[in-house]
């Protein structure tokens, strides 16, 4: 069991080390990377089975005399998130390989380190270890962001590093102050610390603000839409599925342990969630490129994800967890279909695109199904999550929050329609017809065959790489429909995890007995 708990952190780091030894063998790197992520999905499923029904598992790493150790704890929430994150990363890696984005010898090791940081933050039971795993994740993301080395990457990379370094410094000072007040940094031991130890308020608040920067909650959100569209498309998909979700998970965990029974925390996050939903979706109106619009929607959806903390009930957290799990896949799929669009047409600007429904219908369906889930249209899983969330909000008399959630869903639908109209409907543009982005995919024209001035060939170029490019969003689309129909079993799976968040007694017991 302790091996299973440490594996989410140890396995990707080991894989990264192996892949660094395979510096000049990109094919071998790809195999090790994909095998590693498949192993992580298996680890996640093992943890889900071990924590089913509201149980929690813990182990103490280090175990020095005097009780000094780093607890690694997995409860239902962590296990489900590990599985979902690893599965979506697998899809992103497939698309990265299909696009050729992973040709850089450091790409796969960096993705493995990123996964180590993210999954490690899901299982760690110690605030300082959380800081360390966040830094591991951030450093890998800094390099992945700027790996293409161009002008825009340097500019965006500087903004990204600056904002996150400030957040990390805040996190570190907050942890220091919290340790000074409470004498421990173990999350389980810090249960209700803000209520019981008044001096701990400042440190705990600094920690919460730093994590909110990471989760991109308003008013700490403006770095995300500025920075995410600049990375490579598959890298953006990977970031969207992993980074902000780690921040949201930590906010859930903090609300369950450090800030347990603190009403003001819940109220502040409720307000922040509502404002985030609105600001994100309004910001998307001003963008004219696919990934820019999707980045603003990421900000908006974080509001939905943080709303359960404001609601505070088991029903709210069940809805939040369902929404979070399917949202990991949906956001990844949306960015992966944006990657497919950009690979085929060479651009993501809506003004330059149009009519792709006729030329690449698979890409269109791969975009449509996750987009409907994002907007919360039945019978997708997004509808299930949003419906339960709004229902939980109304149950707690939070009428404004529920109303805003519904209104923002409509606005999200409008935004998705804007992308749909801009990219898939309408007149076929030059970029969509000629597909300049596929230049690296097609075999070279033999001598004597060039110089052909005919209009673009009507048959679409299809190869293993284009299939690998187009299939992941379709898989997620199918999954989204499946989960929408199987909502009952999904709720049964997630509810014990939500109960452990609201009443963390199994979590605390597991750490105490480890």
């Amino acid at each position: 069991m302790s091996a299973l708990l440490v594996a989410p952190l140890a396995l990707p780091l080991t894989a990264a080390g192996i892949m660094l030894l395979l510096w000049r063998r990109p094919a071998a790197q790809r195999i090790v990377s994909l095998a590693g992520v498949v192993a992580l999905v298996a680890v996640g499923i093992g943890l889900v089975v071990a924590t089913a029904g509201g149980a929690a598992e813990a182990t103490r790493v280090g175990d020095w005399p005097g009780g000094l150790a780093i607890p690694f704890v997995a409860d239902g929430t962590s296990a489900l998130l590990i599985t979902a994150a690893a599965a979506v990363s697998l899809l992103c890696l497939v698309v990265a390989a299909a696009r050729g984005e992973d040709r850089h010898p450091l790409f796969h090791p960096l993705v493995a380190v990123l996964l180590a940081g993210v999954l490690g933050s899901f299982v760690t039971g110690d605030l300082f270890n959380l800081f360390v795993t966040f830094e591991v994740m951030l450093i890998a993301s800094y390099v992945l962001m700027a790996i293409r080395g161009g002008r825009r990457e340097v500019r965006a990379g500087t903004i990204y590093v600056t904002v996150n370094l400030l957040a990390s410094a805040l996190l570190l000072i907050g942890i220091g102050l919290l340790y000074g007040a409470a004498g421990t940094v173990e999350l389980a031991a810090l249960h209700r610390v803000v209520v019981e130890v008044p001096n701990a308020r400042i440190g705990a608040s600094m920690v919460a603000v730093a994590v909110a920067v990471k989760a991109s909650l308003v008013p700490l959100h403006s770095w995300l839409p500025r920075v995410y569209p600049v990375a490579g498309p598959a890298v953006t998909a990977l970031f969207s599925a992993l980074l902000t979700k780690a921040g949201v998970y930590v906010l859930y965990r903090l609300s369950s342990t450090v800030f347990a029974d603190v009403t003001i925390f819940r109220e502040v996050l409720l307000v922040a969630a509502v404002v985030t939903m609105v600001v994100g979706v309004l910001g998307a109106v001003g963008r004219g490129d696919v990934r820019g619009i999707l980045s603003f929607h990421m900000v908006s959806q974080v509001g939905y994800l943080v709303l359960p903390i404001g609601i505070g009930t088991v029903a709210g957290f069940t809805a939040g967890l369902i929404y979070l799990l399917q949202y990991l896949a949906v956001k990844g799929a949306l960015f992966l279909s944006a990657a497919a669009i950009e690979t085929f047409a060479g651009t993501g600007r809506l003004a330059r695109l149009g009519g792709m429904l006729r030329t690449r219908p698979a890409v269109a369906i791969g975009f449509l199904l996750p987009a409907l889930s994002l907007a919360g249209i039945p019978p997708t899983s997004g509808f299930v999550g949003k419906f339960l969330l709004i229902d939980a909000a109304f149950d707690q008399q939070l009428l404004l929050a529920g109303g805003v959630a519904v209104a923002v869903s409509f606005a999200t639908l409008l935004s998705m329609l804007k992308i749909w109209n801009g990219v898939f409907w309408g007149e076929r543009t030059d970029e969509v017809a000629r597909e300049p982005g596929l230049a690296g995919f097609r075999p070279a024209i033999p001598a004597g065959g060039a110089g052909d001035d005919d209009p673009p060939r009507p048959e679409r170029f299809v190869s293993a790489r284009t299939v690998a490019l187009v299939t992941p969003p379709l898989l997620v689309g199918g999954l989204v429909l499946l989960l929408g129909v199987l909502a009952g079993p999904l709720i049964d799976l997630v509810q014990p995890a939500a109960e452990t968040l609201v009443d963390p007694q199994p979590y605390l017991d597991a750490v105490r007995e480890a």
């Binding site: 010898p105 450093i139 002008r151 500019r155 590093v161 220091g176 340790y179 569209p229």
Partner: protein
Amino acid sequence: MTAALVVGILAAAGTYLVLQRGIVRITLGFVLIGHAATTALLAAGGVARRGIPFVGGEGTPGDPLPQAFALTAIVISFGVTAFLLTLAYRARDTIGTDDVEAPDPTPRSAAPGHRDDTTSRPAPTDVEGRTP
């Protein structure tokens, strides 16, 4: 008291530098902020109540956790500083200056096919990953 003053001065100087233009100044600012955070961590362990360094001697042993935190934080800041300086170097190569907020000096052509905001073709790299 001394520790609080030190943290305050370092954080103030670091924040001032981070708000300047130029990656090198931002990097120096983060170095100072990192030092402030490290000092805060050590101070949280109680600079006034230092014990003996080993377990088993006479007297209470000193608290090892703040020292572990501080060492980890120093190492992490070191790594990120190295990356920021690499970014500055790269900015010098691509933009010509390390001031990332400076407006783009070259006029943007409107010809189709030029690198627009969302082009996604990866820059050509050789096998070592360097852009020629």
